[in-house]
């Protein structure tokens, strides 16, 4: 049984007060169901991502009830930024195992307007070790800044060498309705932006947004369906202190997915890769093998990740510019790749019709990795 993505939806991201986490989830889930031509009672599994603003104990049951679904399987999932793709992987396994024929994967929250920036930063910093890291005062940007420092030192690079990744994401967002950040930027603007945790500056970091995303995975082939042909995961550490910086789990995850699909990185026509910070994107591209070591920023500057480039990447603008509302932020990459594989991206459609897509999510401090290969069949 091949799992098909029959429906996919993402809302605008940004600071958009007035909706609760559940309201956001319902918005994307309803749109994804409509896209799939299904109604809530058709669902036999509902998977929902955790939220930082609501913190409900059983988000999938909560969402199912509100939608009008009475599934046989429902549970929440927590794997940090990898949660969205972890739920997609779980949905694909449920369908392949013939445990479910229609699975809703949903996520969304009022991460920007439902809490203060201080609360959000403190909550996220708890991915650090409670005894040996958090008491030192680190934040998620500080942990990634440590990664960036090691990355730049290893490759003999300067902070400006990561900036082209932020510039490319912003250029993509400028053409995407609903993107959080759309004003054009250049490398000089990234370098002139305020330091957050050196070597990372404000424009090396994603914004915090409100929004949601959802997909429907089915056993039945849908007319506009996209096949999930491979999934993979890697979980090598939780805390930065324990991370092996040359074997983070990204390569293992990506190649498990590609091998299962019978594909290689060379076959990938379009990619959606987690980009919470510029360094995140650089390290993932390089460990997976989409860029040579130390070259991701230079590749971005050369246009390799543009829509007309060799590897169109995060063509919606990514977390760095479409925005980041938690679990839905990582699902937005998948929704974009599905939209491009369907040929439905309108003015931002990549010029060469893509057939094979690759998506990768990451949670924690490059701790949890989930990859999927998607194909227009």
């Amino acid at each position: 049984v091949i799992p098909w993505i029959a429906g996919a939806s993402v809302t605008p991201f940004g600071r958009q007060p007035g909706r609760t986490a559940l309201d956001w989830q319902v918005a994307a889930a309803s749109a994804a169901l409509t896209d799939a031509g299904l109604r809530a009672p058709d669902l036999d599994a509902v998977l929902c991502g955790y939220t930082t603003t609501a913190g409900h104990l059983m988000p999938a049951d909560l969402l199912a009830e509100r939608l009008g679904a009475r599934p046989g399987i429902a549970y929440g999932t927590s794997a940090g930024g990898a949660t969205g793709l972890a739920m997609v992987a779980a949905a694909a396994r449920l369908v392949r195992a013939e445990e479910a024929r229609a699975v809703l994967v949903a996520a969304g929250e009022d991460r920007a307007s439902g809490q203060s920036t201080d609360t959000s930063t403190r909550t996220l910093a708890q991915v650090g070790h409670p005894t040996y890291e958090v008491p030192l005062g680190g934040t998620v940007p500080a942990y990634y800044a440590l990664l960036a420092s090691a990355y730049l030192a290893r490759h003999g690079l300067a902070p400006a060498d990561l900036a082209p990744l932020a510039v490319q994401m912003r250029a993509h967002a400028a053409d995407t309705p609903g993107a959080h950040r759309t004003a054009p930027i250049d490398v000089a603007a990234v370098i002139a932006s305020p330091p957050i945790a050196e070597p990372l500056r404000l424009l090396d970091c994603c914004p915090v947004s409100d929004g949601s995303a959802a997909i429907v995975v089915t056993a039945a082939r849908h007319a506009r369906g996209i096949a999930i042909t491979g999934i993979g995961e890697g979980h090598r550490h939780q805390h930065l202190t324990d991370a092996d910086l040359v074997d983070l789990g990204a390569r293992r995850s990506a190649h498990a997915a590609l091998d299962r699909a019978g594909r290689s990185t060379d076959d990938v026509d379009i990619a959606g890769i987690y980009d919470s910070f510029t360094v995140t994107l650089a390290m993932l591209l390089e460990e997976i093998g989409f860029a040579a070591p130390g070259r991701a920023g230079a590749d971005a500057a050369a246009g390799r990740f543009a829509r007309a480039g060799a590897l169109p990447l995060n063509t919606h603008g990514g977390l760095l510019s479409y925005g980041h509302c938690g679990v839905a932020g990582g699902l937005a990459h998948l929704v974009e790749v599905v939209t491009q594989l369907r040929g439905e991206a309108g003015p931002r459609q990549v010029p060469v019709p893509p057939r094979t897509g690759f998506v990768h999510g990451e949670g924690g401090v490059l701790s949890a990795h989930v990859s999927a290969v998607l194909e227009a069949v």
Binding site: T117, D118, T119, T121, R122, A125, H129, T131, Y132, E133, V134, P135, L136, G137, G138, T139, P141, A142, A145, L146, L147, A148, S149, A150, A153, P194, P195, I196, A197, E198, P199, L200, H239, L240, T241, D242
Partner: protein, 112 residues
């Protein structure tokens, strides 16, 4: 897990597998390589080499942190494990450092 920094005298500790002798810093109940449980807890000298360095400019109100800006480092201890700490006076990856505990948490400074 006891924070050994807060014991007296405070110092850094590491784990060593009783079977394959591999080492790591964060406590775990079994060796991730050979699976043998009950690793040995050993004290570290507290000297090492800076593997990563950040200067933090934005930190949330209500968190555990010194006034901004402050520095954090990852240090590869001479015993072969990596730890995180605060830092003062450290300017570059690769610098040799030693740990102290002026505020009750590890803080690395260059070895003169």
């Amino acid at each position: 897990v006891t924070a050994e920094w807060t014991s007296s005298p405070p110092r850094l500790w590491l784990d060593e597998c009783r079977g394959c002798a591999r080492r790591w810093a964060l406590p775990r109940v079994a060796c991730p390589h050979c699976g043998l449980p009950d690793p040995r807890r050993l004290p570290a000298e507290g000297t090492g080499t800076v593997a990563a360095l950040t200067v933090v400019h934005r930190a949330p109100r209500g968190g555990h942190h010194p006034p901004t800006p402050f520095a954090l480092v990852l240090v590869d201890l001479d015993e072969g494990v990596r730890v995180m700490g605060r830092a003062t006076g450290v300017s570059v990856v690769g610098e040799r450092v030693a740990v102290g505990f002026p505020e009750g948490v590890p803080c690395f400074a260059p070895i003169p």
